[in-house]
């Protein structure tokens, strides 16, 4: 049994236990860590969406904000992995939705709130409105011994990172030790999860190849509106749920249509997660959280 399968087995076991402690790779336990901390991943709010898949379209995001604020201890930071707003062909309406979104998340209690775009925010104007209101679409930051890389695979409507940004990534990675603890945030999956539903990044394989020499890399992403875990070699990829409507498992039905709202179980399939960065360089404790505390 090779290392990949061991890690997959660990993932499977963690899932089966109903918990969500993802410990991939056991060597190097002491590398690159200053102290434990918690961050929150929110994703796919699609602010501006209206329709039967979510009769509480304007209430769900505020409920999630309240739920995050109800955590016993505020997270060190919050990362919102894209599709902050639902797409519109009207540039003015796009900006209006972004401003509303910004006001809605203003009450979030956290050390810092980081944002990144999804294709609904950025693909129709190459990220122009997003940059105007929120700033750069790709960047890095460091926190307590972890190097975080935010990659933009949506501003290009073809759904790719692109040569320029991959060169930027190469420059950034060159400064990192091969033992560095690295977390990558993207909107689309970097692997071919299901290209038939556009669940892929056109040059994702090239990006993963750039990351592969680094021993402790974990990717968090959105886009697919459901919890999903996957390994490419030693790199774990974790997808988050949406805050607007869930999507079905890849290829489980002919069309990628939202899962119908269930009045008996409102907000089912929606949610967010806390991520606890613990001692091992690749170990992140993922806890899936409901939109409402009593849900």
């Amino acid at each position: 049994m090779d290392g990949t399968w061991r890690r997959r087995d660990i993932l499977r076991l963690a899932g089966a236990a109903g918990g969500a402690v993802f410990a991939s790779a056991l060597p190097g336990w002491a590398a690159g860590r200053d102290e434990d901390f918690v961050f929150v991943q929110l994703s796919d709010a699609h602010w501006g969406f209206e329709g039967a898949p979510n009769p509480d379209a304007r209430g769900t995001l505020p409920k999630a904000v309240a739920a995050v604020n109800a955590l016993p201890t505020p997270p060190d930071f919050i990362m919102f992995t894209g599709d902050l707003t639902h797409t519109t062909d009207d540039p003015n309406e796009r900006r209006r939705r972004m401003r509303e979104f910004r006001e809605l998340i203003a009450p979030l209690r956290a050390g810092k709130v980081w944002l990144m775009p999804g294709e609904h925010d950025a693909s129709l104007d190459a990220g122009a409105a997003y940059r105007e209101l929120f700033g750069p679409t790709h960047y890095t930051f460091d926190h307590k011994g972890v190097h975080f890389i935010v990659l933009d695979n949506v501003s290009d409507p073809a759904g790719q990172v692109g040569e320029t940004q991959r060169a930027w990534l190469a420059d950034d990675l060159r400064k990192q030790s091969r033992e560095a603890r690295i977390v990558v945030f993207t909107h689309r999956p970097l692997f071919d999860l299901y290209p038939q539903w556009d669940w892929a990044t056109r040059d994702g394989e090239a990006v993963v190849a750039q990351l592969m020499p680094y021993r402790h890399v974990t990717v968090f992403y959105g886009h697919i509106h459901q919890e999903h875990h996957h390994m490419t070699g030693h790199i774990a990829h974790h997808a988050a749920r949406s805050l607007m409507f869930p999507l079905p498992p890849a290829g489980s039905q002919p069309k990628r249509a939202p899962v119908a709202w269930d009045p008996g179980q409102p907000y089912r399939g929606l949610g967010w997660r806390t991520v606890k960065a613990t001692r091992a360089p690749d170990a992140f404790g993922l806890t899936e959280q409901p939109v409402q505390r009593d849900a």
């Binding site: 129709l124 949506v154 002919p254």
Partner: protein, 126 residues
């Protein structure tokens, strides 16, 4: 390996038949009388492909002549490892060979507007 590209394990009889067919085809090609691939025109516009259902016979090779009528679109048929950019007003040809019978999805793979996510169709192989 995508399902559409899989080759089913051949029985001995099928293998013999396959070689006979290949021999006949080779003869036709050598004489220059092989039938050219069927050309299927497909139009793309916000946010539909016309037609959105393409029927093929297993093993058939066709040329899709794709024309975007309004804005830049993409055509992607991942099961066939085929994709192309479709600049508006220009016809782009892609060659596609049907594999096993089944229903395979194609899509617009360049984000083109509010209806983009519903823009797609199926290739029915019988």
């Amino acid at each position: 390996m995508p399902e559409a590209m899989n080759t089913p394990p051949a029985s001995g009889r099928r293998t013999v038949l396959g070689w006979m067919l290949a021999g006949a085809l080779a003869g036709m090609i050598a004489r220059g009388d092989a039938a050219p691939p069927r050309v299927i025109p497909v139009r793309a516009r916000r946010f539909v492909f016309l037609p959105d259902r393409i029927a093929l016979k297993a093993g058939e090779t066709v040329i899709l002549a794709l024309t975007a009528e309004d804005i830049l679109m993409g055509f992607g048929a991942p099961d066939f490892h085929v994709r192309a950019d479709l600049p508006p007003g220009r016809t782009v040809q892609v060659t596609l060979t049907a594999g096993k019978p089944g229903t395979y999805r194609f899509l617009c793979d360049i984000f083109c507007g509010t209806g983009h996510e519903d823009m797609g169709g199926t290739i029915e192989v019988t």
